[in-house]
């Protein structure tokens, strides 16, 4: 479990202070798939960077599996427990071949070469990139690069992976590759997923959605509970999935529910 206890982060600059995360308390449970939504500047990326001690709270605490992120002696253990995948795949790839890139993190764990080999092979297989292992990363598509970045993280066997807008720069195909990989890691490998996104269609896949506004949690719940609140979401510069919007537009006449989230659900309700 990751516990945020009254987490506050204030950026200080010459212009003054900016409270990016304002007294948030939240528990992230093992095995869950959590989505975090919120308009640009609402503090969600700042929050994410606290989950593996890239940033430390200016007030409050973050406890990762019992370890306080302020405890410097636990830093490497925390970073091994919680991995991060960022928006721009090009900024995350460092080596000249896919497998070397994927091995970069694991090599730093001081494992036996044989074990490193095994973990890298397994990680690349999990994200479906085994056949590219000798390719140069810069020749891959955006979605493939992002999957290599993910493989580099899962080779370190984290229990949690934080995705900070992992699909913002990808084409539709790349996006679905990354989303499927994320789902697979959660369902099959039981890795806890925290996905920060601007795409409502991605948030629908989560077990729980947290909506942030001005550094605080505005509200949270299951995707159905959250996306039912169209007005509230729009007031926060967010949106509902197109399917939900359509379902609500035809709901009055057809009597179908306003909390429909997928095309399948809509079709089934309409054909009933």
């Amino acid at each position: 479990m990751i516990q945020l206890e009254n987490l506050t982060h204030t950026y200080s600059s010459e212009q003054g202070k900016n409270v990016a995360v304002d007294n948030i308390s939240l528990e992230i449970h093992k095995g869950e798939h959590l989505a975090i939504l919120g308009q640009n500047g609402c503090g969600k990326s700042t929050l994410a960077k606290h989950l593996n001690a890239l940033l430390l709270p200016t007030a409050g605490r973050v406890i990762v599996e019992g370890m306080d992120t302020k405890d410097e002696s636990k830093l490497w253990q925390i970073r091994q427990t919680v991995g991060m995948v960022f928006q721009n795949p090009d900024n995350q790839l460092v080596a000249t071949t896919v497998e070397e890139d994927c091995a970069f993190g694991v090599e730093n764990l001081g494992l036996e070469p044989k074990l490193i080999r095994q973990r890298v092979d397994e990680a690349l297989a999990t994200v479906g990139m085994s056949e590219f292992k000798e390719k140069a990363p810069h020749l891959l598509s955006g979605g493939q690069k992002q999957r290599v970045a993910i493989a580099g993280i899962i080779a370190m066997r984290p229990q949690y992976i934080v995705f900070d807008e992992p699909t913002a720069m990808l084409d539709p195909h790349g996006r679905s590759e990354v989303i499927q990989t994320m789902q697979k890691l959660n369902k099959e490998e039981n890795i806890t997923i925290i996905n920060i996104t601007h795409f409502m269609e991605e948030a629908v896949l989560a077990d729980r959605v947290v909506v942030m506004d001005k550094g605080k949690i505005a509200f949270m719940g299951t995707p159905k509970e959250v996306f039912r609140q169209v007005e509230r979401l729009k007031a926060l510069h967010l949106d509902v999935p197109v399917v939900t919007e359509l379902a609500q537009a035809i709901g009055a006449e057809t009597g179908i529910d306003g909390d429909i989230l997928t095309i399948e659900e809509l079709v089934v309700s309409l054909c009933r």
Partner: protein, 293 residues
């Protein structure tokens, strides 16, 4: 006068073992005042194409014509070529990364000043551009780095608009913005087209966005122009688009699914309101039919 692409080919690293053909046999005409969407998956050649359109690179074969004049023909006087190229403005992906000045106004003035306008003229052009992108003038003296993501992007777009291009190319202008930010930028871009007559060329990964805003869509695949037509015409090719790694707008997907279930709905619809009417019409017909039975 239109922007024309005639039988254009582009090869990266020609005459080397690494030579790779990025574009081949591309013919295109973009008319003044149009809103054109360009879609294609990563590596389809769309970025190469737009870099040729704005004169950043020269085609290996073929011509790029503006107002009927080849912008790369060395026989055309240099100042004329330069003027022609300036008619095409380009806003790159994540343009806010290129902001650098102390104030918003100074940043937007950079382009016009480079073109030889004096301080006063440049400021006037910059202020006009701020209005066009919907940035309140009160931000003029602020640091661009203190603005929100959506506003920074407007500053960057204003910097290009201040040079008064007739054609504006935007590469993924909404990437990384929240839903409202996306909506605002696209609405603003549409307003520039409708009210100021600026031709818009939008490169996007979002099928929903190009479907809603573009008059005409160009689909690129493997360096060639694969399809060209209105959104309705393009998205009728759903299976082809999916096999190209693209997709179709969500409302179109819904209608296709309903049709598969035996509903009498049209599937060439890309807008939410039209889809709503279409579904309700079919729903009423079905209900009526069931009552008789």
């Amino acid at each position: 006068m239109p922007l024309e692409v005639k039988n254009v080919e582009y090869t990266y690293s020609p005459n080397t073992p690494n030579a790779s053909v990025a574009l081949k046999g591309v013919d295109l005409t973009i008319d003044e005042g149009e809103f054109v969407g360009i879609i294609g998956h990563t590596g389809s050649g769309k970025s190469t194409l737009v870099q040729l359109l704005c004169g950043l690179m020269e085609p290996s074969e073929g011509q790029i014509l503006i107002d009927g004049v080849d912008i790369n023909n060395k026989e055309t006087p240099k100042d004329i070529r330069k003027k022609l190229r300036l008619q095409v403005g380009m806003v790159f992906q994540y343009p806010e990364h290129q902001l650098f000045e102390e104030t918003v106004l100074k940043d937007i003035c950079f382009g016009p000043k480079n073109l030889g306008f004096n301080e006063e003229e440049a400021k006037k052009l910059a202020k006009d551009a701020m209005k066009k992108v919907g940035l309140p003038l009160k931000y003029a003296e602020e640091s661009p780095f203190d603005l929100s993501g959506g506003q920074k992007r407007r500053v960057a777009i204003a910097g290009v608009l201040a040079m008064k291009p007739k054609y504006l190319i935007l590469d993924e202008p909404t990437a990384g913005l929240d839903p409202q930010g996306r909506e605002e930028i696209l609405a603003q871009v549409q307003q520039m087209q409708k009210e100021l007559g600026i031709t818009i060329i939008l490169v996007s990964h979002s099928m929903d966005d190009v479907a809603r805003f573009a008059d005409r869509i160009i689909v690129m695949n493997k360096g060639e122009k694969y399809l060209e037509g209105t959104p309705r015409e393009i998205f009728a090719h759903d299976e082809e688009l999916i096999s190209l790694g693209l997709g179709i707008p969500q409302v179109t997907q819904i209608l296709k699914r309903l049709q598969k279930e035996g509903w009498a709905v049209r599937t060439d619809i890309v807008e939410l309101d039209a889809a709503k009417e279409e579904i309700l019409k079919a729903w009423r017909a079905r209900k009526g039919g069931n009552n008789h039975a």
